[in-house]
């Protein structure tokens, strides 16, 4: 394959559409005779709806219908995984009066305008028989259980050296032990674009414009909840304004909207409010992580024990595999044990959020490693290098392409790690204490079965199509780039199609797997299309290659050559009167999965300053080195890592959803009170790629890149805060008050006593 543009910085092919406002997002969809849905949500977290008075709302201007449990739309139970793949929730709304969480759907108002629907919704009066919800770790004790499996392994995975009876024995036998507990709040994805569905029926065929990470999965799940054949449903989603996992599943407002459209025989569009985004489309669960590291005085790990408790809802199980995806495999240790228990709360269903498992797991593991480095008196980079795993623990297979130690080395060099003063609180700039910290980054490389179509067209252009999605990540551009390189054509000659369930099937864009999954199918389809083109050229009398032997004609850079002749594919197709020739191919991982482990790795370095008076933490700079295989588009790849790091900054320093214990209500379910990083919070981020193709993983050698950036970032920040202040904050986010008063060894007057 010629590689002309892969790896180079490429502008987004859809960039102009986006900045000119012509990219039509799901909520932008306009239809003739369109109505607007507005969801009614519960204002208690547990109990029963006793009555709903909708009479005033129904008489309100423009209202077409008010659906409630007392006037329901029939919906069926959703498909459970794995059948339903990534189905977000399975309990259909409005089918009973039971309340399991604050903000649960209890009705849908449909009106002629969005404002009329919203204002009518405010006129519905609901009476509840409320019960005390489960909304804290203490209350959840009675609702604790062990999941059947975690990340396709047992809930407890033990890898013990010969002669070692238990992980606790291994810890007891370790000369140095770090034993720490970390807690994290619920986090919310908060993409800029809210979820939206526009449902349009043509007879018994349904077209849904939905903000989704998976048009194919959405089609299946919506059809099952509506009780219709999935062939009768088409899902379209050309653009997504950020997703981060919360659009990776079907949520019930979408089939509810479709059911209303069916009942009213009119298109209905429902857009979630920001507040509804907090309770209806998932979150990262709250976690308590207990980590025990046992090591020799030289820092060699002897035992790694990582126990995780994470929250789930009463309607849905989702396991945030914080230990199974991190401590289970990142470092070499003769003894490793990871375990997981779940705790039910009266909250909406949790779901995957950018780097599920790895983002929170790497926070605790990498902070604990920093504590171990201090305990051993070893540099954190050296400690990690020393414990680097050559083979996947317990499976004893190598990684397909692992360059983590190189990440440490390059990162340390680019960042200037050697200038770090290892004594906490030793560096001061004016009123600010300055510290440096680092952490590893880690995320599994996934590849799923995917299909794609490549089509040569008589006008000299080519089309690349697959039912994949672009979450704002740059898939449009990457598909065009891979299509261009596969066919040896300039990118301007490639038309891309995606985000349509009618296209060749592709997996949900999650787990950083889209590029890795879809591009092999494009490459394969390109080769098949070339073959078909040549076959056509030698068989048709009007072709200049008519009668040539198949092996004598070759395709290169858009041209067919052979039998002393040469012609571009467009003129060949035109000449024989064909509009196009195309091929569809499917690609999937093979037996390499048995022989190798697949992960992306990285190293994060950061420098923070902490005000010695008032405790605010501000980032000064970050360096990130990523080992993600082939970099396909340098420009969007950098953006992906940067975006992940910005997520990590929020996770470490300001984000966190506050759940009220007594009411089960989120106290900060809006953008004024749930803080995400602003531009002013994000320093210069220096990003480097190892860029070694992982061709065992797939022909392009590219692993996913969308999630790994968040991993390691929070720990690097927390470790830098320790280096700056001598304070370990093990409860995220690191708010100013958790650092006050800053150590007595600091040159400041005593301010700690309260008057």
């Amino acid at each position: 394959m010629s590689t002309q543009i892969i790896g180079k910085p490429q502008d987004r092919v859809d960039g102009r559409l986006k900045v000119t406002g012509r990219a039509m997002y799901s909520g932008d969809r306009q239809e003739e005779n369109l109505t607007y849905g507005y969801l009614l949500t519960s204002k208690v977290a547990k109990g029963l709806i006793q009555a709903m008075d909708t009479s005033v709302a129904e008489r309100s201007p423009g209202v077409a219908a008010v659906y409630t449990p007392f006037n329901p739309l029939k919906l069926y139970h959703g498909l459970e995984p794995p059948e339903g793949a990534t189905s977000g929730e399975t309990l259909p709304p409005l089918q009973d009066q039971k309340i399991l969480n604050y903000g649960q759907i209890i009705g849908l108002v449909v009106a002629e305008s969005y404002e009329q629907a919203r204002d009518a919704a405010a006129l519905v009066r609901t009476q509840y028989q409320a019960e005390e919800p489960v909304a804290s770790w203490e209350q959840g004790i009675e609702h604790t259980f062990t999941p059947e499996s975690v990340d396709r392994e047992k809930a407890t995975v033990k890898i013990l050296a010969e002669g070692v009876d238990s992980i606790d024995d291994a810890i007891r036998g370790s000369p140095l032990v770090v034993d720490v507990t970390y807690t994290e709040p619920i986090y919310h994805h908060n993409p800029m674009e809210p979820h939206a569905t526009t449902a349009v029926w043509h007879g018994d065929r349904l077209t849904i414009y939905d903000a989704t990470q998976g048009v194919i999965s959405h089609r299946l799940n919506v059809a099952s909840v509506l009780g219709i054949d999935e062939d009768m449903v088409r899902v379209l989603c050309p653009f997504v304004g950020g997703a981060f996992g919360c659009k990776g599943s079907m949520w019930m407002f979408s089939p509810l909207t479709a059911a209303a459209a069916r009942a009213l025989n009119r298109p209905v569009k429902t857009i979630l409010t920001r507040e509804q985004m907090f309770t209806l489309v998932g979150h990262r669960p709250a976690l308590i992580q207990h980590l025990t590291l046992g090591a020799n005085p030289d820092g060699t790990l002897q035992a790694v024990k990582h126990d995780v408790r994470s929250t789930v809802s009463f309607a849905k199980i989702f396991v945030e595999a914080a230990a199974h995806r991190t401590s289970r495999l990142l470092y070499k240790s003769p003894n490793i044990q990871v375990s997981h228990t779940l705790v039910r709360w009266n909250v909406g269903g949790p779901t995957f959020m950018r780097a599920p498992g790895c983002a929170p797991g790497m926070f605790s593991l990498e902070c604990a490693m920093d504590e171990l480095a201090v305990r051993c008196g070893i540099d954190p980079v050296e400690l990690r290098t020393k414990n680097d795993a050559e083979v996947y623990p317990g499976r004893n297979v190598p990684w397909s392409c692992k360059n983590l130690v190189e990440c440490y080395q390059l990162g340390a060099e680019k960042f200037g790690w050697s200038k770090r003063n290892s004594i906490p609180g030793a560096v001061q700039e004016g009123d600010w204490l300055v510290g440096m910290g680092m952490a590893s980054a880690l995320y599994p490389a996934h590849r799923n079965r995917a299909s794609a179509k490549v089509r040569f067209q008589a006008d000299g252009t080519a089309q690349v199509s697959s039912a994949t999605q672009d979450l704002g990540t740059g898939t449009w551009t990457v598909l065009a780039m891979v299509g261009a390189d596969s066919l040896g054509l300039p990118i301007a000659k490639i038309h891309t199609e995606l985000g349509d369930s009618a296209l060749p099937s592709a997996p949900t864009s999650g787990g950083s797997a889209s590029v890795a999954s879809v591009t092999p199918a494009i490459q394969k389809a390109a080769e098949s299309a070339k073959k078909k083109l040549i076959q056509l050229a030698i068989r048709d009398r009007k072709s200049p290659f008519f009668g040539a032997k198949i092996e004598d004609v070759s395709y290169r850079n858009g041209e067919l050559t052979g039998a002393g002749k040469s012609a571009d594919f467009g003129s060949v197709l035109s000449g024989i009167g064909r509009s196009a020739v195309e091929a569809v191919e499917m690609a999937a991982a093979g037996e390499e999965e048995e022989k190798y482990a697949f992960h992306s790795f990285g190293a994060q370095f950061c420098q923070v300053k902490v005000n010695r008076w008032t405790g605010e933490v501000r980032l000064q700079r970050m360096t990130s080195v990523m080992d993600i295989g082939t970099v396909v588009n340098l420009k969007t790849a950098r953006s992906q890592i940067m975006g992940g790091i910005v997520f990590g900054i929020g996770m470490a320093l300001m984000e966190g959803t506050i759940l009220e214990e007594k009411t089960g209500r989120y106290a900060n379910a809006n953008f004024a009170d749930y803080l995400i990083a602003t531009n002013a919070d994000v320093p210069y981020i220096d990003i480097h790629f190892i860029n070694k193709p992982d061709t065992i993983f797939n022909p392009l050698g590219a692993r996913g890149i969308g999630e790994i950036g968040i991993t390691g970032t929070p720990a690097a920040i927390a470790n830098a805060v320790y280096n700056a202040t001598g304070r370990r904050v093990r409860e995220f986010p690191i708010l100013p008050e958790k650092l006050l008063p800053i150590g007595a060894n600091q040159p400041m007057i005593s301010m700690s006593e309260r008057s």
Binding site: D119, W613, I658, K662, A672, P736, R754, S755
Partner: protein
């Protein structure tokens, strides 16, 4: 949002005659429109004051006069403000976002409602929004709430940064009611909640703030606004301090100081001023004086840290402005 009518008066007098308990004035709209969407405020009439002659930023004999319709961004960047009252400029520039500052008026800033999450959620009890229903914050989530000037009815924090700076500078506001105009000290204008948290200030229905006057204070050229917050931009204060310092060598001649993020109104600190006046410019002096700021503080479950943090904020501001940092 409930249905409302939209009216455009042609004079200040007409505007005030159109005002009333069922009406609300709209200038930049950055608060009122939000609250109407949330149905926290449901005026049946909106009276647009934007065309009214309430503009101008002028340095006069008696001080600075700012028209109530001036935008936050324009005041923040005005050369006379930047030169003579850095504390005002800094307070404005650390408020909200650039987009909001470009829209929001000075009068509206002073009248913005609290950010208490219960006040803004009509499904929770709130004495300020609906008198007699109770205060959800006292036993609820109260990390951002006030520790000073609170009552058993309300602990909502006053959100304005500008008001803190203006109270420190002893500013007054011009209030128009029909043909009558009165001038009121801004500190006196704001009320603590007591038993009537819905009653936030001394503005009567229909009355309009037309201008702000800041007394001439030459040494306010040495002034600053220090805001401590959870992120670097677009966030309300955990604590803040507005400070002007008059120095005579190493001695503090006089001080103006008020704090924000901690009070149910902008919290003026005359005791701290007294404690610092005439004292040497030393960290020990600062710490002792800062303690007086939290006299009578009533911390709750999540906001106890503010007792300490506001003292630290004061000391840090004094260190910076006094050139000791």
């Amino acid at each position: 949002m409930r249905p409302f009518t939209y009216e455009v008066p042609s004079s200040i007098q007409e505007a005030t005659s159109r005002g009333g308990a069922d009406a609300a004035f709209i200038a930049g709209g950055t608060t009122i429109v939000d609250l109407m969407k949330l149905e926290v405020m449901n005026p049946s009439r909106l009276v647009d004051v934007n065309p009214l002659p309430m503009l101008g930023i002028q340095m006069r004999e008696d001080g600075l006069r700012i028209g109530a319709l001036e935008k936050m961004s324009d005041v923040a960047e005005h050369p006379e403000v930047v030169a003579n009252y850095p504390v005002i400029s800094e307070a404005l520039l650390q408020s909200a976002s650039a987009q909001i500052r470009n829209m929001a008026s000075i009068g509206g800033n002073l009248l913005q409602r609290t950010r208490c999450g219960y006040f803004r959620d009509v499904f929770t009890p709130c004495n300020k929004r609906e008198p007699g229903t109770g205060c959800s914050a006292i036993d609820g989530e109260n990390r951002m709430h006030a520790i000073l000037g609170t009552s058993s009815s309300c602990i909502a924090t006053h959100p304005s940064d500008l008001a803190v700076a203006l109270v420190a500078l002893d500013a007054s506001i011009y209030i128009q009611n029909g043909a009558e105009e009165r001038v009121m000290n801004l500190d006196d204008f704001y009320l603590v909640p007591g038993e009537t948290p819905d009653h936030e200030n001394q503005l009567r229905p229909g009355e309009l703030i037309t201008a702000v006057r800041v007394p001439r204070l030459l040494w306010a050229r040495r002034s600053t606004y220090l805001k401590i917050r959870d992120r670097e931009s677009y966030e309300f204060a955990l604590t803040s301090a507005a400070l002007a310092l008059d120095l005579n060598g190493d001695t503090i001649r006089d001080v103006r100081i008020a704090v924000g993020g901690v009070g149910t109104k902008p919290w003026n600190l005359p005791e701290v001023r007294q404690a610092l006046a005439g004292k040497p410019l030393k960290p020990e002096t600062f710490a002792a004086a800062a303690k007086l700021a939290v006299n009578g503080a009533n911390p709750l479950r999540h906001n106890g840290f503010k007792v300490d943090l506001v003292q630290r904020t004061i000391v840090r501001a004094l260190m910076n402005l006094g050139g000791l940092a």
